[in-house]
């Protein structure tokens, strides 16, 4: 809190995370400013999902420190509050609540965690359903929707909590090819509206469009980081070159 003017919105400092003997994150440090769009790529098991799950405290890192808005993210009340008020997340498997309607899925957080009045929460939910372009589905259950629609509902559900930053954990990896575009379009619009986001994805075309910073991870370390222009055209490390050549070949 010493220099509020210059301090980055999210600070990741020397964060390490182990699963047993396996080192998922190896002293990762990273700064993200408000409004920034960071895309993380890398081979599976490289720690990219673990990194954003640590930011949202779905995983507990062993060493290092993560600060959001200057406040340490931990299990203390202030740590929880800063997460609650700032961070939204979208999962690979959507993780909608199957026993609730779309509208109820969206209203649950605002009503229960934010203590918002039902009517206000309903308006908010409908607003975001319109934004992800499926307002007509509000009364259906998740299982009645296509994968692409479900993921858009999941994005709307996260937005209903009015986060300052959105985390996307491979949001299109569980989707059929023809549904990827509709989800990426929604994320792109969100990026254009100024939302801060960290997105783990293998969709390099999308990354090029949206990202203002690219990050390549391998073996729990950040191997390469830079603006998309130089990242895609002139990557420095051999590991990143190899990865990009493989992923961009098709």
């Amino acid at each position: 809190m010493d220099q509020p003017a210059t301090q980055p919105f999210i600070q990741v400092r020397d964060v390490s995370k182990y699963f047993g003997q396996f080192c998922a994150l190896d002293a990762v440090s990273l700064d993200i400013e408000l409004g920034q769009k960071l895309v993380i790529c890398g081979p599976s098991g490289s720690g990219k999902s673990t990194l954003i799950r640590c930011v949202n405290r779905l995983e507990r890192h062993e060493t290092g420190e993560i600060r959001i808005d200057g406040i340490v993210v931990d299990d203390s009340p202030t740590g929880r509050a800063v997460l609650r008020n700032n961070v939204g997340m979208v999962f690979q498997q959507f993780n909608l609540f199957p026993h609730l309607t779309i509208l109820e899925n969206l209203m649950l957080g605002p009503v229960r965690a934010r203590k918002m009045a039902e009517a206000d929460a309903r308006d908010l939910a409908m607003h975001y359903l319109e934004r992800v372009r499926i307002p007509e589905q509000f009364n259906k259950y998740p299982a009645q929707l296509s994968g692409g629609q479900q993921q858009r509902v999941a994005i709307a559900r996260a937005l209903c909590m009015a986060p300052k930053i959105m985390l996307f954990d491979e949001p299109t990896s569980a989707l059929d090819p023809e549904m990827i575009a509709e989800v990426l379009d929604v994320i792109e619009e969100l990026a254009d509206s100024g939302m801060t986001m960290i997105c783990v994805t293998h969709e390099m075309g999308f990354a090029r469009q949206v990202a203002d910073m690219m990050l390549f991870m391998d073996h729990g370390k950040i191997v390469e980081m830079g603006p998309p222009k130089t990242f895609f055209t002139a990557p420095e490390s051999d590991r990143c070159k190899l990865f990009l050549s493989q992923i961009l070949r098709h």
Partner: protein, 257 residues
């Protein structure tokens, strides 16, 4: 999706009628002339009275079982929750409770609660509540295992999604996990109710005026155990087959929704 009551009742008669038929076959063909159905013959005044006396026990059997199952479900859930903790101490508490309670025979627990508990806790406890308490405690260990399995069958992503929209533990359980888990374990809970109805017969030992106790008392005055216990068997059969049909109906309904 939609089920009518007629479909519910359609599940009952076929099996019921078959069993009643079987019972009458046994009564007619099984023995030669030793039956004395007059004790429960509805055509006579005494028979009617005896029959009414036996059947009135149903109120207590059902009242006892339903009260006990409601308490045991709550108790079971309470005992199941610490088992889901990632810490060792709450897990141990759950294990100890489940193992201890499962190791006590229900009959012994009924006797202890009725004769022992009032002395330990210096309180007076009615036959009904002693029975309810003993049955509920005994059943809660099984309910706890059912709840634990049901809750553990819910995908981890549901917890993560709840966390990501800032629900606390209580709200996560109440609005996300338990509604899904309970839907999955409803058939198992129904089976516990059937089990409870049968075990309630044990409460007859402390004088609870339920079906079995009444049959015993009538046998002592009428000396016709064969007929009276046959009626008792049929009483349990009818009640339990109806409940089983209800459970099956519920299962089908859940399958389609």
């Amino acid at each position: 999706m939609r089920f009518t009551m007629s479909k519910f009742w359609a599940l009952v008669p076929s099996s019921l009628i078959r069993l009643l038929g079987l019972a009458s076959l046994v009564s007619i063909g099984g023995c030669s002339g030793n039956w004395g159905w007059y004790v429960v013959n509805p055509a006579t005044e005494t028979g009617r009275q005896n029959l009414a006396f036996l059947i009135d026990g149903l109120y207590y059997t059902i009242g006892l079982s339903v009260t006990a199952i409601c308490i045991s479900i709550c108790l079971g859930l309470l005992v199941a929750l610490p088992a889901l903790s990632s810490h060792r101490a709450p897990k141990a508490i759950n294990r100890i409770y489940v193992e201890l309670v499962r190791a006590i025979p229900i009959l012994v627990l009924i006797l202890w609660v009725y004769y022992g508990l009032p002395q330990v806790a210096s309180l007076s406890i009615s036959v009904f509540w002693a029975g309810v308490l003993a049955l509920a405690i005994s059943d809660s260990a099984f309910q706890a295992e059912i709840f634990r399995a049901g809750i553990q069958s819910i995908d981890r992503g549901q917890y993560e999604a709840s966390h990501s929209i800032s629900l606390n533990y209580r709200d996560t359980m109440r609005y996300v996990i338990l509604p899904q888990a309970i839907k999955r374990i409803l058939p198992a809970l129904g089976n516990q109710l059937v089990y409870m109805l049968k075990m309630s017969s044990l409460v007859s030992v402390i004088g609870m005026q339920e079906l079995t106790r009444r049959a015993n008392e009538l046998v002592v005055t009428e000396y016709r155990p064969l007929e009276i216990y046959t009626v008792l068997v049929l009483e349990y059969l009818v009640v339990i087959l109806i409940v089983s049909a209800g459970v099956r109906w519920l299962e089908r309904r859940l399958e389609t929704s």
